[in-house]
Amino acid sequence: MKLRAGTCRSPRFTRRRFWWAAIASSVALVAVGVTFTARGEGGEPRYFAITHARVVPVAGPPIENGTVVVAKGLIQAVGASVTIPPEAWVIDGKGLTVYPGLIDAGTTVGISDDGTDGKGKPAGVVLGPEGRPGTSPWRVVADEIKTDDKRIETWRSAGFTTTLTVPEGGILPGQAAVLNLAGDRAGDYVVRVYASVPISFKPVGGFFGFPDSLMGTIAYVRQVYDDTAWYSQAEPAYESNPAKYERPSYDRTEVVMSEAEKRSEIVMLPANNSQQLLRALKLANEWKIRAVLYGGQQAYEVADALASAKMPVLVNLKWPERGKDADPEGEQTLRELRFRDRAPGTPAALVKAGVKFGFYSGGLSGPKDIMKSAKKAIDAGLSPDAALRAFTADSADILGLGDRMGSIVPGKIANLVVTDGDIFNEKTKVKHVFVDGRWFEIHEEETPPDKGGDKKPGDEEAVKAGRYAGVEGVGR
């Protein structure tokens, strides 16, 4: 790690300050068993240059011995020969590779583990659509960020700079946000507040309420779209001429959904197997929504249909496997076996058909498993380039944020991950991560803390223990 002094401040002072922060936070975190130590802690400075590195901009061919300049949260310059501003801290990137920050396009990282608002279900049983079962689209993830979610650091330290953080719990549980995984305050994390309206077709009625079937759930969502369409027409009519029209009664779902529609907010429809995928295509068309399908694991069977509908897919990287507690004598159908065998081949099939897709961690416990799953897709025929795009530019495009993230291009958000090798190689270590231009230096390997100081005895052990826990990927 070499830092060259800039002209405008004392690096030594800053560096020491970082150390204090590092030790203090490590001590604090040991109690709960988390995670990496870092010199770069995401604070000042705001100008960087990573030099002599292999730069993989995704938007173009890799640049050997390139430089990336980061200024005030954005990428200022990229190339083989760029001018390094005098105020920049210089990181010698020799032997390192710079990638755009990875995007996890579907997770609960940053909010509560189970994705709910923790308030639980309202009491009572809903008997029809008018009771709005499992419906709270007004819940906005951007308002529920838990900056103390341990997973934020776990994800970030593995190179995931950005998440689509999705609310769970119900048919229309709320609105997902795009988050950058760093910031002083919760608000700093938010890249897009109203990123997406996720829908679940899981019946919420139990045995005695509505809906308690898949078809009932679909029918309910259809009614919500009917109601939204009606409100979008009735409300302006009434406002323009209250003497002529009946005042439309207030329904929060209709109001929020019609606002989302006006923003042409992405609607995420669940679809994992081929039948669900075809069904979702049909429903997206019928409901006239800007849809993105999530799940997508059996898309290898219907990739052409997805391509001709120009339907983007977010692929769940938690590949299907035999349940851990499955009855060893239990009968396995050939269809299940085929699905489990072929699912990792889905991304390759999507590339072949020309379907745009991103990756999301789904229920995976941590970044290590995410990368392992991605490796499975690569082993099943996906090119590493395409895999990288799925984690970066293509996810950004699907989320409608391709103009500001997903590649290393001047003007884009400085979300970067710097590794000591190919990002899909299991042995590769992440060395630095930049989130919104905030620098994080990652230490997975044993590196004794700086000698300087008033360190209390025992800190080192504590740091170590915490670090190892991090290596194991303590997450959810």
Binding site: V32, G33, V125, V126, L127, G128, P129, P203, G205, F207, F208, G209, F210, P211, D212, S213, L214, M215, G216, I218, A219, Y220, R222, Q223, D226, D227, A229, W230, Q233, A234, A237, N241, K244, Y245, Q275, L278, R279, K282, L283, R322, E331, Q332, T333, L334, R335, L337, R338, R340, D341, E446, E461, A462, K464, A465, G466, Y468, A469, V471, E472, V474
Partner: protein, 488 residues
């Protein structure tokens, strides 16, 4: 049962994998030297059927195969029209009941058709070519229904019977009043709880649907008159299908048992100006056969299933024959994916109970359900111009020895017993290979995890020489494994 399961599992991809019988069929096929039961035009010994582009192009005794066409030699075999099951719950993703509301007409089977349900293939193997896929009987007014052809291997969009009117399920009696369902404390039981209540729910729903229809009629009239700035009424997914019922665009298929409730529904239907298309199960139909015949409704019943609950105590196996005698169009249905495989035998039972002729018995699983579902112009008999939906049996289809050999839909062979048998070994091998592959991967992963575990265990104390035999330390004192694997 286990064997049935196994076979089902082996079958699961029979029609979708390496030998999709459905896809590569020639457009012209000739079935030769068969005993043909046309159902509507008598029986033909040593006859031939020419199929062209999915339709029956010719039927007769003296037909010869045109040059170069594919020939199915049916010497010693029997051909009947494809069997139509007027009451089925196959090919549905998720629950067949939306039991939440008493009127669940917003739910639509068409939304959740599952072409991968193995029951489709099972039933094809029993000669079924079309089925009326119904919502369950949990509600006085249930969900929307759809008629499908059992085109195994095709996507959901290819299943619906083109041009067949959609339907809606009604249900009377014990099921919709939910006898036997006790909700947990704090949740009130769903209304209705009596037969009176069932009637009230249906009437109330149609009163609301009438009002809803009026709103739309009014809106459409004003719009047609050129009025500007109108706000359309809100679309109501629950009432919309009931409007279609009143407009004659959707059939009512009503689950029922007792004579009194059947008469009740006839009165309610008359009040709101719609017709019940079929009474399903209609176990006491024989008591009011004249009334049913006069109403124009069909009766779709079981052959000899009774006494399984109080409201089924008055059921008799003569029901089908007696209703037929009084002029009701009667079909025998399965209501069950497994029973659907032997509907030919179910129909034959009415020859024993009620002395039906063989042809009348056959009618109850072919042309009669076709009439009930409004698809008799297309299917239900072997006539020139109709769809080539056919079953070839090795014995008289009304005998217990009959086993379907081939089932055709639209002139395509969707089930072929010999090909099925021939394909099983390959499917079984594929399955065993996949299982072995999975097992191997699991073992490798176990080894890897073990290695990783050893490594992690060695890490915390780098000065000590790691002992490969030693397990990672288990104490909580700064031990990595304890921290990582603990209850965090």
């Amino acid at each position: 049962m286990k064997r049935v399961l196994l076979i089902a599992i082996v079958f699961i991809f029979a029609g979708m994998g390496a030998w999709p019988a459905s896809a590569q069929n020639p457009s012209t096929i000739f079935i030769q030297n068969a005993t043909i039961f046309t159902v509507t035009q008598g029986n033909i010994e040593h006859g031939g059927i020419l199929i062209r582009d999915g339709k029956i192009a010719a039927v007769g005794k003296d037909l010869k195969a045109p040059d170069g066409v594919a020939v199915i030699d049916a010497t010693g075999q029997y051909v009947i029209p494809g069997i139509i099951d007027c009451h089925s719950h196959i090919a549905v993703d998720g629950s067949v009941n939306e039991g939440g509301p008493a009127v669940s007409s917003m739910a639509n089977i068409a939304d959740v058709l599952n072409p991968e349900d193995i029951s489709i293939y099972d039933d094809l193997a029993g000669g079924v070519t079309s089925a009326n896929i119904l919502h369950g009987s949990a509600n006085p007014i249930g969900g929307q229904t759809i008629v499908i052809k059992l085109r195994w291997g095709k996507p959901a969009s290819a299943l619906p019977f083109e041009g067949a009117l959609p339907g809606i399920k009604f249900a009377l009696g014990e099921n919709p009043k939910r006898s036997g369902f006790t909700p947990p404390p704090g949740i009130p039981p769903r209304y209705p709880a009596t037969r009176l209540g069932v009637e009230e729910v249906i009437r109330q729903a149609f009163i609301e649907a009438t009002e809803y229809k009026k709103q739309w009629d009014d809106y459409n009239a004003r719009r047609a008159a050129g009025e500007q700035g109108l706000v359309a009424p809100r679309r109501n997914e629950q009432l919309q299908p009931l409007v279609e019922v009143m407009e004659g665009k959707r059939y009512v298929h009503s689950h029922c048992y007792r004579a009194d409730e059947i008469l009740m529904l006839m009165r309610v239907a008359k009040e709101f100006g719609f017709k019940v298309r079929t009474f399903q199960h209609v176990l006491e139909g024989y008591k009011i056969a004249d009334e049913i015949a006069a109403s124009g409704a069909g009766g779709s019943t079981f052959s000899d299933w009774w006494g399984y609950k109080v409201e089924a105590y008055d059921a008799i196996p003569y029901n089908a024959a007696l209703m037929t005698e009084r002029g009701v169009v009667v079909s025998i249905n399965s209501d069950d994916a497994q029973e659907a495989r032997q509907l030919n035998q179910e129909a034959a039972k009415s020859m024993k109970y009620g002395g039906m002729t063989a042809n009348d018995a056959l009618k109850m699983i072919t042309i009669n359900p076709a009439i009930q579902l409004g698809i008799d112009k297309r299917v239900g008999s072997i006539e020139v111009g109709k769809d080539a939906d056919l079953v070839i049996y090795n014995h008289d289809p009304l005998s217990v020895y009959a086993v379907a050999q081939q089932t055709l839909i639209d002139g395509q062979v969707y089930f072929d017993r010999q090909k099925d048998l021939a394909g099983r070994a390959a499917l079984e091998k594929e399955k065993q290979d996949l299982l072995a592959k999975e097992k191997k991967a699991a073992e490798e992963k176990k080894d890897e995890d073990k290695k990783a575990g050893d490594k992690a265990g060695a890490k915390p104390d780098a000065k000590k020489k790691p002992d490969p035999k030693k397990k990672p330390p288990q104490d909580a004192n700064g031990s990595a494994s304890a921290v990582a694997g603990g209850a965090l």
